[in-house]
Structure formats: structure tokens, C-alpha cells
Subunit: 499 residues, 2 copies
């Protein structure tokens, strides 16, 4: 993959000086058009070999464009807030919003490659990371991002020369550390590992662009041009309205016999008040102890509540929070996204609330809105919600891998029971605010919601994050089932040995 | 201050059970009205003696109200991201938006009190913190927040009894740590220090409410009622439109002789291209070395650019960033606030961008918008911008105390020069986007802006954060002056010994 980047590409100073003003004007031009259109975010990754001009390139890009609308992120060691969350959290929090350019100096590739070079992980694990990255970038692209991945390359001889030259000049000596020489000694492993990762992650949507780092004029002009032209092309596509034709999908067809996972539930299950009180006390006590157990500090919990309107999500959530230390949890009510959230991929607003170790986040409605309300109401395209299943599974896998227990409840009630509860709410002055015109409208789409729920369960109930379907016609039964499931999931997670 | 809280207040269980349902309904009622009106944020601080029921109270409040709209923040040890910024940064980032309730368990009072009790700071320093807190809370209240500060008190004897009782019960034993007993031994110092701080910080806008923690029923009902009634009263005030009559202020009267700091500048100062190039190179090199000096890791820089339209802020900023490592700085262009920012006090959106140690943030326009455009255009009331001077000075003092060098530039051009630049911009296709109708409109208010700028300089040019007024009719002269000032300020800060 590096062959073309070891040929000694060069551009003479005269050509460089002639071309530069044109390029800078182009860059500023596309930058302002992007900013005004707010059409998409641009994510630029700068990776590669030490001494190949990564830092200089980032500086140049910021000098050539308006630095006020470029966010640069030097991803060094994670902070402690970052270290206690899934690996990708720190990148999510730094994604540029639509209209802006974000440059990542060091990226989601850095840690996997270094870990492999230093022998901390095996090849299979590296391949798994590559695979995760491909899916992550696919999602970003599908959400509209333009991703430009530059790999700055130097041959081994040249790297040595470059480091020596930097060391010789008093002005640049500070830039060469022992770490750089250590990396140099590992050049061959680094090259082999990088090539493997680049090969696996160079996709049609987000290809790697390898740039020879020897000649400053060559590499600068080349990168500048690619940035300008890529943004230009995307802007033109957007204006022409011919943004990527998304893969056609086979429409889902509901089972013909009407048999489905929601119909299968036994809605007659009930608990007496007495049994309920006893079990509630026992389970709340159990949950209280579990979440105060020292082992819980290595875990976190993301608890998702979805369900029909009036299915009793709020009541179930309060039975959980009643057992928790108020300092330990957050409940996130999910409503319409804010302006800042709308300028980001749809999962961004949930990544914001991913719990740290030792904490619980309870989502009252969640990222599943994408495949429920957004699907049924047509708020997103078919292709968007179709791809969401896989994206959500990836998200939950990342949570799970980092020790977050993902517990998902669908509270199901029958159509008759919903009617009864709506009427009851309307008759009670204190509860009237809970029922709106929209609730009645949603009810008319009952069958579409049933189909969406069944698809959701089929496609996102996974070993690591199974759905628990709760027949909730009897509130007491439902609450106990929710509490018990939560306790069991936490207990199971505690048994797994964690480092 | 604690006399009434050592009387042995009690409420019997029967009264408690009778009153509780009414209280809970009130609480839910005000909470939903608050949520729907989005009228103001409610900030509840829970402080006090160990074992006085602080945790239980927070749990109860969340159980009684809808926990989905309450944010709880247990402010323990700062994370590393927090520790490398001013003390109040972690509270700013956690302020509840309008319509929500934020409970701080441990607050801006915790560290000063503990530091004093453990002898880490002197009384004078404690008083200084109290003073800072009073001004901080005044600002929050002026921005609309309702602040409720509860202090849970126990007499010394009772604290001992409580800790022993908790220790005896296997279910609560985990809650008593060695630290609690250590605190108990320091009870007298703790009481004395707390009383001093409570006395100094109990203000009309945000009084302390001391609650005896002995009887659970008493303290819970009391706090619940105060919360319900305070929110109720504020909601009613808002509805009646009779929100606090703000202190009348003497309107500023510009000096009669028209002599002012902007008129005083010598706009004829110029540099030749040759001198400019030489000085630019020298100063950029100096800045590059300064920001890469190991000593710089203990500092940070917040650089503010304000100035007339077309005064050359962007160009000056680029001359600075051209000398910096792209990974080390952010440029924040300040435009209209986002939805999330509008739900917070006006300084919130600048606190978000306060640089960590070792980093620079350059603000292209800033918090001074409050006393410039917002004042002149009438976007905020006279009382709002009048108080802003002191609030801004407090903000910059906090930055400065934590090692952030605050460097503020006003780029001044004459009215004729502005006219010339506007016309030039309109004639250049590439620069036309930089000039809008609004720029021409602002120009009509030239004199009002001059008055606002002069007041701003008089009131916010302080020893720790002086304004540098730059005559910018000659761009080259202005850029050199900016760069030189910045270098000198960083150099001066490096000479101060820091721990």
C-alpha cells in the first residue's frame, strides 16, 4: 500500500508558489460555503509515521483556511473521564457539527495500531477493531459526514534522516523524544501493522489516502487539493440533490399469520397487592445492595425503557430509582433533539449520556426512536432506519465491551388497556397533562407500531443486550418483572471476571 | 445560626402520613409547571453535617418528584479535566437549564470549608472564597435561577449517636467510613467554620435554610415544603409578570467634552512592509517558543478579540495561530447562542470553552457582547448589562487565579477607515460575504458603540486582565502590537512562580 509513497515525489518551489494562492482561495471558498450551508460535517484524520509532517500538515490546513471554523483534536492519552467510558466515547464527544471541519490528529486508529505494535493485543483483536472502525465510519458517512483519512508515510531510511535533522536544529530539537526513537526501532512492525489496518479499513465510503511525507511542498499541495476538491464535490452533489443513492432494501413483510412476539405475551398475568409489596421490598433491597457492592464500581448500567404510550414506563422507572442512591444515577427523558443534537449523527445525543463506571443511566425512550417513531412517522428514510439496526447493535456492543450492562425493556399493553388508561387519564385532573392529541393519533397507527416493534426485537435482541418484553396490563406485575430482570442482569455481569 | 436546629424538632408518624400525599402532589405540580414554562432553573444545594440525612433527603426529593427532570450531582473529587480548570468550572458545566431542577450534593461550599477545617487555608482566604460565592450566586439569581440552600445540622452528641447507630446495623454499616469519624473529631472546628461561611453567604437572594437532621419526618417534610412553596411562589411571580424589580441604576453619562479613550489613540501609526515582515517573523518565533516552553504547561491563555466591524480581528488572529501548534489552541467564533446555551446564564457558553492548562483559547468576540451589542441593541435590560461589568470581572478573576492569562484586545479603526473597508469588501467578489446589511446598520449606531466601548474599558480593564486598545487603521501595525502584547503577557505570567 505504500509503494507509491516511496517514489520520492517532489514539487519545486516555483510551482508551489504559483499554485498555492489558487489552492488557498479554493479552500476558503469551500469552507465558507460549507459553513453557510451547514450541509454536512468534514472529518479529517491525520495518521502516519513520526516525522512525516503530520503536525505541519495540520498547522498548514488551519493556516490556509479560517481556523475559527476548524476544530483540532490531538487525541493523546485519554483523560480519566474518557478512560472510564467506551473507547469511542472521546471521539463522539469531539465530532464536528454540520458545517464545520474537525481534524483528528491521532484518531480511533492510533490505539489499536500501537497496542498491536507493542504486542499488547493479538492480530485477531486488531482485526476486530478494524471491523468496528469500518462500521463506525460507515455510520458516520451514512449520517452525512465527509471523512478524509490521510496517512503520512516515510520510508525507513527517510524517517531516520528526518529525526536526525530535527534533532540537529536547536529550534526543532524539542520535537524529538525518546519515544520517537523507540518508534523508529519498531518501524518494521509499525509498517506491517499499519498496512494491515489500512487495507482492512480502506472502504469506498472512506478510503485511505497515503501521502509521501518527504517533500513538504508535495505533501502540502496534495493534501490541500484533496481537501478542497472533496468538499467541493460533496457541496455540488448536495446542491444538485443527488446525494448518494442509498442501497435499495427489501421492504419488511410482516408474518402472514399475524403471530408475533407481542401477541404471544400473556397479558392476564397479575400480582396481588400483598405479593407485590413483599416482592417490591425484597427486590429493591437486592438492587440497593448490588449497586453499592464494591464490584459494581467496575460496571455501569444503561437501562432502556420503551413501550406503548401509557404502558407505565414512568412508574417502573420510579420503582428502580427508589432503590438507588440519588448520586449514582441519571434518568434521561428523550424528547425532540436540541439544535446542537440535530447537527450531529443521531446516536450522538445518547453517547453524551453514556454512564461512567459505577453509575447508571436510565433512558426513558432511547435510540430505538429511530426504528419506532421515526420509522412509523416517516421522520427518516427507509434506508436510514434499515441501517439503524446494525448501528444500534454496534453501539450496544461497544457499551457492553467496556463493562456497561445494557438492559432493555419493552412494556407492552393491549389496545383495550391503552384505551382504558387514556380515558382514565383524561378524567383525572392531575393526570390530564399526560395525555395529548398526539397520543390519540399514535393510537391510530397501532398496527404499524406493532410491526416496527417486532422487527426491532428480531433485529436488536442480542446475546449481549437482549430485549425483555413485559406484559404490562397489570402494573404491579410489570414493575416486579422489570426489577427482577435488572437485578439478575447486574448479578450475571458481576460474576464475569473483569480486569 | 444553629440554635433553632438543636431544639429536637419532631413530627409524629401520623401527621407525616397525613401531610405527605398533599406535599407530593404539590411537588409534582410545581415541577411540571416549571418544566412546561421553562421559566427558570432551580438549584438546590444540600450541605451539612455527616449523618444528618443529606443523602436520604436527596433520595426523597427524587422519589417524590419526577426523577427524569432532576439532575443530581455528587461533587466528590474533581476529575482531571476539572482539576486543570478554575474551581467553579465543574459547577458551571453541571448547572441545570431553565425548567429543570439540579441538586448539588456537595457544592461550591464543600472544598473551602474542608480546606479551612483541615488547616490548608487561612481564615482570610476562606472569607475571600465566601465573597466569591456570594457574587457567583448573585449572578445566578440575577440570571433567573432559584437557589435553595439547605444545611442539615446535628448537634455533636447526636452526630455521635447517629454514626454509632448506622455502624450497628449491617444494612447501613457500609455508609460509615473512617473519614466520617475523623470528621466527627473535628466537629467543633467544622461547626465554627461552617457557621462563619453560612453567615457570610446567607444573602437575601439566596439565604441558607438550616434544618435539624435528627427527626427524619421533620426534616423531610420541612425541606419538601420549602422546595414546593419556593417554586410555587416564583412561578406565580413569573406569571404575574412581577419578577423582582431590579435595582434602578444611574444611567451612564458620556463625558461632555467628547474626550475618550478611543479618540486618544493615534490612528496614524504605521509600519512599512519591511519592518512588518521582520517583526512578524521575530514575534511569531518568540510566541512559538513560549507556548512550547515546559513552563507553559502550568498556564493557559484566554485571548479575547473585540473591535469594530472590519477592524481586522480575523487577520490578527491568524497571525497568532500561525505561530501555534494546531493541537494546542481553539478559536471560538462567537455568534448567536444555541438553544442549549440560551437555557443557561449568559456566561455559561464561555465557561464551556475555558482552556485547560497548557492550552490557548482565542475568542473571536466574547462575553463582552453583553455590554456591547446587547447593550446597544437593547437585547438585554439596562440592569442586566450594568451588572455584567462586575460579573465579567469576577469571571476573569477566577480565570486568572487558576493560571489562565486573560489577554483582551480592542481593535479600533476610525469611521472613515471603516467606510473605506466596507466599500472595498463590497467591490471584491471574494470578500463580499463578509459584509452584510447588518454591518451598515451597526455603523449608524457608531456613537452608541463608542460610548459602550469606553464604559467597558473603564469598568473591565483591570490589573489582572487589562484591555489593550489597538489603533488598527494600519493592519500591519495592529498585528505586530497584538503579537507583542501577547508575548509580553505570557512572559510576565511565566515569571510568577506557580505551584
Amino acid at each position: 500500500m505504500f509503494e507509491s509513497a516511496e517514489l520520492g515525489h517532489k514539487i519545486d518551489k516555483a510551482s508551489y508558489d504559483r499554485e498555492l494562492p489558487v489552492l488557498r482561495e479554493q479552500l476558503l471558498d469551500v469552507q465558507y460555503e460549507l459553513l453557510q450551508s451547514k450541509a454536512f460535517p468534514v472529518i479529517i484524520l491525520i495518521g502516519g509515521v513520526d516525522g512525516a509532517g503530520r503536525g505541519e500538515t495540520v498547522n498548514l490546513l488551519k493556516a490556509w483556511m479560517d481556523p475559527r471554523h476548524i476544530e483540532t483534536h490531538a487525541m493523546g492519552e485519554p483523560t480519566d473521564e474518557e478512560a472510564s467510558r467506551p473507547d469511542l466515547w472521546r471521539f463522539w464527544r469531539n465530532l464536528p457539527p454540520k458545517g464545520k471541519i474537525g481534524i483528528f490528529f491521532g484518531s480511533w486508529y492510533t490505539q489499536p495500531i500501537l497496542q498491536r505494535v507493542f504486542g499488547e493485543i493479538k492480530g485477531a483483536k486488531l482485526d476486530m477493531y478494524s471491523d468496528q472502525i469500518v462500521r463506525f465510519e460507515q455510520m458516520l458517512v451514512a449520517e452525512g459526514a465527509l471523512i478524509l483519512k490521510f496517512w503520512m508515510h516515510l520510508s525507513k531510511d527517510f524517517q531516520k534522516k528526518r529525526l536526525k535533522a530535527l534533532e540537529k536544529d536547536p529550534k526543532t530539537r524539542w520535537r524529538v523524544s525518546e519515544r520517537d526513537w523507540l518508534h523508529y526501532k519498531l518501524y518494521d512492525q509499525f509498517r506491517e501493522t499499519s498496512e494491515r489496518v489500512l487495507r482492512q479499513t480502506s472502504t469506498g465510503e472512506a478510503p485511505w489516502i497515503v501521502v509521501e511525507g518527504v517533500d513538504e511542498h508535495y505533501r502540502s499541495l496534495r493534501i490541500g487539493r484533496i481537501v478542497a476538491e472533496s468538499i467541493r464535490r460533496r457541496l455540488d452533489e448536495e446542491k444538485a440533490g443527488k446525494r448518494r443513492s442509498l442501497a435499495a432494501v427489501a421492504p419488511f413483510i410482516p408474518a402472514i399469520d399475524k403471530l408475533n412476539v407481542l401477541e404471544q405475551l400473556d397479558y392476564t398475568q397479575k400480582l396481588s397487592g400483598k405479593v407485590y409489596s413483599a416482592e417490591l421490598e425484597e427486590l429493591q433491597g437486592r438492587l440497593a445492595l448490588l449497586t453499592r457492592d464494591p464490584k459494581f464500581k467496575k460496571l455501569a448500567v444503561a437501562c432502556v425503557f420503551e413501550g406503548s404510550d401509557a404502558a407505565g414506563k414512568g412508574g417502573a422507572i420510579r420503582r428502580i430509582t427508589g432503590a438507588l442512591d440519588a448520586r449514582q444515577y441519571d434518568v434521561i427523558p428523550v424528547a425532540a433533539p436540541t439544535e446542537e443534537e440535530r447537527a450531529q449523527p443521531y446516536l450522538w445525543r445518547f453517547w453524551r449520556h453514556v454512564p461512567r463506571k459505577g453509575r447508571l443511566t436510565i433512558f426513558d425512550r432511547s435510540w430505538y426512536g429511530r426504528v419506532l417513531v421515526e420509522r412509523v412517522e416517516g421522520f427518516c428514510s427507509e434506508a436510514d432506519w434499515m441501517r439503524a439496526y446494525a448501528e444500534i447493535n454496534d453501539f450496544e456492543e461497544q457499551l457492553s465491551q467496556s463493562g456497561v450492562v445494557v438492559v432493555k425493556f419493552w412494556l407492552a399493553i393491549t389496545k383495550d388497556e391503552q384505551q382504558r388508561r387514556f380515558e382514565e387519564r383524561q378524567a383525572t385532573p392531575f393526570k390530564r397533562f399526560k395525555i395529548t392529541e398526539e397520543d390519540w393519533r399514535n393510537r391510530e397507527k397501532w398496527d404499524s407500531y406493532v410491526a416496527a416493534v417486532c422487527d426491532m426485537v428480531d433485529r436488536t435482541s442480542t446475546e449481549i443486550a437482549p430485549w425483555t418484553l413485559v406484559a404490562a396490563n397489570d402494573k404491579m406485575y410489570a414493575r416486579i418483572k422489570v426489577l427482577r430482570t435488572l437485578c439478575e442482569r447486574i448479578e450475571a455481569a458481576m460474576k464475569v471476571r473483569r480486569t
